[in-house]
């Protein structure tokens, strides 16, 4: 190994270590900022080391790519409101996966021209196919997730007839095309006199073969490399024109073929369609799972790219991200007591209960309160817990909630937040929103930590959450979509106040008996508006 190459590889190793340390830093809010910085330094090192590669002869396209991508990325990173984090993450996810798919495609096109690598090995072509398949799914899947989260497309599941069969068919087509691509697709170009084969055996291109090329309009330069690909098969690479041909001797004639990436690119197209079809049947509240899974895919695609290039830092970084994505996917599924297959394919999110069932549960039992009444209730409380859900993000109520929290604390009330793992549209969504509004992170309690404290809680304020506080989840009835899902046990508190626009069901499409419970009060209205009116009422009392 030349010295320069060894040096680059050592820098890649350093980058990989920095990525691991960076992720390790994220295990505590105090060390997290430094962790992110370490990871970005690792990335910078890897980029700078790569830029010294002697194969790079022109920096214009690289600079153009950096300017376009960098501007877009930083604009998004600085301008996007915290409530839009899930869709921004979806965009970045998709871009990463798509970049991997395009990059392995480019690497394959280069290899077809006889560049960089000695021969196209099975490792090379099969990992290129895998990376492109996963990257293509990540690209379009994330695009659909973005459209759903941004509200440019319905958040409801779109259930196409026969969708499972279509998905399986598309996957089989992808695998078939990949196999074709790995075996090598070499479309026939033209035939030539057999005599020229003698020249090929000797490692030179005979004049009559050169003439045959010329007749086809394929001018060969003087710089030709002939390589034997086994008996009666050769590869001619034109080093000047960057073109490669496969010559076969069979049935008494010499046939000239061109190796083509066509099956590869068709496969990328089919994978992109598959990505769309996989995400459209998934409803809005299941987005935390989808985003985690797409995150894992973008990591795996990068790792696959690393397999193609035999580049260790790509493999390490990609596998780390893949692991992160799969861990989060598993955690999100567990928090809903559903299998990944159920989230991905069952199309949960269609209305289940009928109006009649809802009326049955709610009839005459739902008590509505005014902000003044609730303010009085909270003023006399010792401990208040706020349980936020996606409705908080929708109405951008985080600042109003923080004002209310401060006011309560100034009156000696202890206030904490109960965060369900799947509250919101991505893992940890509620934490980021509340942190943005200056809520100290010590107050943001995980479900397992806060559930035992509800019995000692005077008032729970449920804001924009529904399914994650629905006591029906405790039932074992399999007809209930959320059966067995761990919930925030808010109904155990002395009183529960639910801020909600109406009694409309949540994402799971079922009525919530909590709203009709004896200790429950409904505060009908917009989350932000009601939080502000509660603060105003508290100030007056």
């Amino acid at each position: 190994m030349p010295k320069e190459e060894a040096l680059i590889k050592l820098i890649y190793l350093t980058a990989a270590v920095l990525f691991i340390l960076g992720l390790k830093g994220l295990s505590h809010p105090r060390t997290a900022v430094r962790g992110n910085l370490l990871a970005s330094v690792g990335m910078l090192l890897a980029i700078v080391a790569t830029l010294t590669d002697h194969r790079i002869v022109d920096f214009r396209i690289i600079i153009a790519g950096f300017v376009v991508g960098g501007l877009f990325g930083s604009l998004l990173a600085y301008r996007a409101p915290m409530t839009a984090m899930p869709q921004v993450v979806a965009i970045f996810n998709g871009l990463g996966g798509g970049a991997s798919a395009l990059a392995v495609g480019a690497a394959f096109e280069e290899a077809l021209k006889g560049e960089w690598i000695e021969e196209i090995t099975i490792q090379f072509s099969s990992s290129a196919a895998a990376a492109a398949l996963i990257g293509g799914v990540a690209l379009t899947g994330s695009a659909v997730a973005f459209l759903k989260l941004q509200g440019w497309m319905t958040e409801k599941p779109i259930l196409l007839p026969g969708r499972h069969a279509v998905n399986i068919l598309l996957l089989i087509i992808c695998i078939g095309l990949s196999t074709w691509h790995v075996l090598g697709y070499t479309p026939f170009l033209f035939t030539a006199p057999v005599a020229a084969a003698d020249g090929l055996r000797g490692g030179v291109v005979a004049d009559d073969l050169r003439q045959s090329f010329q007749q086809q309009g394929l001018e060969l330069s003087a710089e030709l490399h002939v390589k034997s690909l086994g008996e009666n098969q050769w590869q001619i690479t034109d080093a000047t024109k960057k073109d490669t041909f496969v010559v076969r001797l069979d049935a008494g004639q010499l046939t000239i073929h061109d190796r083509s990436a066509l099956p590869f690119w068709i496969m990328v197209g089919v994978a992109s369609v598959l990505g769309i079809l996989l995400v459209i049947p998934i409803g809005g509240a299941d987005m935390p799972v989808v985003i985690s899974l797409l995150n894992a895919y973008s990591g795996l695609a990068a790792a696959g790219h690393g397999w193609v290039l035999n580049n260790s830092v790509l493999i390490v970084a990609g596998s780390l991200v893949g692991a992160a994505g799969f861990i989060l996917t598993a955690l999100m599924c567990r928090a809903m007591n559903r299998s990944l297959a159920n989230v991905m394919f069952a199309g949960v999110g269609m209305a289940v209960s009928t109006q009649a069932q809802a009326d049955d549960i709610y009839a005459g039992r739902v008590k509505s309160a005014s902000p003044e009444e609730v303010a009085m209730l909270m003023d006399g409380a010792r401990r208040v817990v706020i349980a936020p859900g996606y409705g908080l993000a929708v109405s951008q109520a985080q600042y109003a909630i923080q004002d209310l929290t401060k006011l309560l604390e100034s009156r000696g009330v202890e206030v904490e937040f109960a965060i369900h793992p799947v509250a919101g549209r991505m893992p940890g969504h509620m934490n980021v929103l509340l942190a943005e509004a200056n809520v100290p992170y010590e107050k943001l309690k995980e479900m397992d930590e806060i559930n035992p404290t509800f019995r000692q809680t005077d008032v729970v304020l449920v804001i924009g959450a529904n399914d994650v506080v629905n006591p029906l989840a405790r039932e074992a009835d399999p007809s209930i979509p959320i059966a067995g899902m761990p919930i925030l046990e808010v109904d155990q508190a002395r009183s529960v106040v639910i801020i909600k626009r109406s009694l409309a069901p949540g994402f799971a499409g079922i009525a919530n008996p909590l709203f009709a419970a004896d200790n429950a009060l409904m505060l009908f209205g917009d989350a932000k508006d009601m939080a502000m009116r509660l603060s105003a009422a508290l100030k007056e009392s």
Binding site: I20, L23, S27, H28, P29, A32, N36, L37, A39, S40, I47, L51, D53, I56, D58, I61, I62, F66, V68, G69, G70, F72, G73, S74, L76, A77, V88, F92, G96, A99, S100, A103, A106, A107, E110, Q123, S292, N295, A301, A302, A303, W307, N310, S312, L314, G318, S319, L320, V321, G322, A323, A324, L328, L331, I419, M426, P427, V432, A435, N438
Partner: protein
């Protein structure tokens, strides 16, 4: 084959390290974890640079440009956004 085994070794070990490190991240930081990990997956950028700078064919240049732009957006945007997000988490 030798290369394949070496790559597989790195791959498997990295996945184990990933599981160990990431399972210690508290739910509080799951969003920054996701966006930070996302930025790291933009490492694919490293593989796209050579393609874009080698001036091989128009096709690889076009592919290279889009790959660099997409991966650069992922890396730069991802790290900046994670930084912005983490800056909001503060103690009492």
């Amino acid at each position: 084959m030798e290369q394949f085994v070496a790559a597989l070794t790195i791959f498997v070990l990295a996945i184990f390290v990933g599981f160990e490190v990431i399972s210690k991240v508290p739910p509080l930081l799951h969003t920054p974890l996701m966006s930070g990990a996302n930025a790291i997956s933009g490492i694919t950028l490293v593989g796209t640079l050579i393609t874009s700078g080698a001036r091989l064919t128009t096709l690889t240049e076009i592919l290279g440009f889009f790959a660099v732009a997409m991966a650069a957006a992922n890396v730069i945007g991802g790290f900046l956004m994670t930084h912005r997000m983490l800056g909001m988490f503060h103690s009492k």
